[in-house]
Symmetry: C2
Subunit: 150 residues, 2 copies
DNA sequence: TATTGTTATACTCTATAACTATA
DNA sequence: TATAGTTATAGAGTATAACAATA
């Protein structure tokens, strides 16, 4: 008789809620280091690897070329990444961390460590491991690119 | 010797990746119904309950009054919610679903159902249950408000 | 004065599409 | 023509802070 739908929270909904909460806290912390979460993701993607073209990076990060271009410009302004002209093809170039950017990554990684530890301290070690396993499972099966390959 | 930090993906990072993937897919689907994800969250929050003040809603949704005001204005324009003047205090008013909005919620909920089912089909039933349990645990222990109380 | 809500302003994030320079 | 990348434009999402009306 009633048309009240079953509003039991969906997994995607719960996931978004938790994800937003962690990310917002993290965003405040990295802001003190002068970067945004998206910038951190790009820095992380560039760490410990060869220079990469914007287009390739766009593919890995699941963003458009335009978005990468804008993000890269801000990181260039902040002196955290560098552009290197392509020797053979004058249209392209490569992006890589600057020395300052490379120094920054461990600092930001440490912030991520403490933020994660604090936020997920409400879980048991087993729960954390399980959660990590399930998330990696989803990522693998959907072919999502874990940008910073580890 | 090396200064390479341990970039093992953090839980917050994995969570954000998965959450973004689900939400982006869902966003495309609800867009066909003419609403955004944030609008769906507000509609869901208003469903099956008494009218609520913008300030109270802001508290529940973890947003500022200004953000709620902007979101509400769009939903008013779309005819999905209604404003009712407060009888006793002329400063305030209450928000509630319009008949059209109330009709829309089940449709959007069904979209969320199918989107969730499709996305999380890569998991076993046990994994899904476990994931839901862990997320609810985090939400409860952090006192995050599951907007649409169920 | 304090509170309710709107508005002004600003910035991030992101997409689409037009454009430039090169191939 | 096709490709690499930038830029222009636009809109969502969100915050802060100034503001108007009322209490």
């Amino acid at each position: 008789m009633s048309s009240i739908p079953d509003l039991t929270a969906h997994l995607g909904y719960l996931l978004r809620m938790v994800s937003n909460a962690v990310s917002q806290e993290f965003a405040r912390k990295v802001a003190r280091e002068g970067v945004t979460v998206a910038e951190w993701v790009m820095l992380r993607a560039l760490f410990g690897r060869d220079a990469i073209t914007p287009t390739a990076l766009a593919g890995e990060m699941g963003m458009t070329k335009g978005a990468i271009s804008k993000l890269a410009e801000r990181l260039l302004d902040k002196g955290l990444i560098e552009r290197t002209d392509n020797a053979t093809d004058k249209r392209g170039h490569s992006l890589s961390l600057s020395p300052r950017g490379a120094d920054k990554v461990p600092i930001l990684a440490a912030l991520a460590d403490t933020n994660d530890a604090a936020f997920f301290a409400v879980l048991s070690g087993d729960q954390r491991d399980h959660l990590q396993g399930v998330l990696r499972d989803i990522i693998g099966k959907h072919g999502l690119t874990v940008v910073p390959v580890d």
